[in-house]
Symmetry: C2
Subunit: 176 residues, 2 copies
């Protein structure tokens, strides 16, 4: 119970899928706020948050761009835009931690989120992992898959899944 090393909490975060809303997803913001309120509380020196944002290279950036790729530079430009959005996302979380006075780190990785999160858990060895979840029913889950479920099963550390509250669920619950 002595001070010692802070508890290292990995928090997986992603972007909202809502059009025209270039911010954190509702569920990842919820998971972050829950962690502060229910775990960290006033003990800011006892914890360190390790944010992980996994960018899905193949899907990102096509939604609202209608892009035509005519040259290698177009691809480079798209990748650059993705990166900017990822950095913007992490800045949101890091800034809040900074304001509260809790230590944090943030990293962006590319790949399949569920695979990359489990891989990073192995590499970084957090004390536990927090993931948000849309709280979809079994029928919806079949089609969209859920990162949280995969991580709860496969990540090599304790995992706590924070479901999005009913009051924050958008019109289409698959959105986030």
């Amino acid at each position: 119970m002595a001070a010692g090393e802070p508890t290292r909490i990995m928090v997986a975060v992603n972007e909202s899928t809502l059009k025209g809303y270039p911010h954190a997803s509702i569920s990842s913001r919820g998971a972050f706020e829950w962690t502060l309120k229910k775990i960290v509380r006033s003990n800011t020196s006892g914890f360190k948050l390790l944010f992980l944002h996994v960018q899905v290279t193949d899907e990102d950036g096509f939604d609202d761009m209608d892009s035509i790729f005519a040259s290698p530079e177009d691809f480079a430009s798209m990748k650059h835009q993705n990166k900017i959005r990822g950095v913007h996302l992490l800045e949101y979380f890091v800034k809040q931690c900074h304001d509260i006075g809790i230590a944090c780190e943030a990293r962006i990785k590319n790949g399949d989120p569920k695979e990359v999160i489990c891989h990073e858990v192995n590499r970084v060895r957090p004390d536990f992992l927090v993931v948000g979840s849309r709280g979809l029913g079994p029928f919806q889950r079949v089609f969209v898959g859920t990162v949280s479920e995969f991580c709860a099963k496969h990540a090599e550390c304790p995992v706590i899944t924070i479901k999005r509250s009913a009051s924050e669920t958008p019109q289409d619950p698959v959105d986030d």
Copy 2:
């Protein structure tokens, strides 16, 4: 981040299945110690632990008793013995909390542990639930079932499952 109400953590605990070891199971003791070390830390006034021990009425007490039931009193006596063991189990956890100075409550219920835990979550509304797990492989799980997996899926609050460490696994990993 202000003080406010403490975070209420329900901790499901059970007895060891090891013969001649009338104490908490390895996994529930591990889950409790993990919670203190990684979540509560030095912030003892920020949390309240709600211990829940579910006694399996049909199985308990037959292991090492070789009982013959010749009269209704024999059943009453067995129930009494079960109760004593349950109280002894909870005393262990409550005493530790008392020594550390963290608020707690403990209750004993009868029934199917996984069902009762989920029912108590609904009734008591903890902020989250901590359950220990033996960390069995898929093959072993088929035969013994796991309370933690059921709760992670069905409990109406966030659930964190703490796997028993490899170094504490008894000869037969189904034991606990």
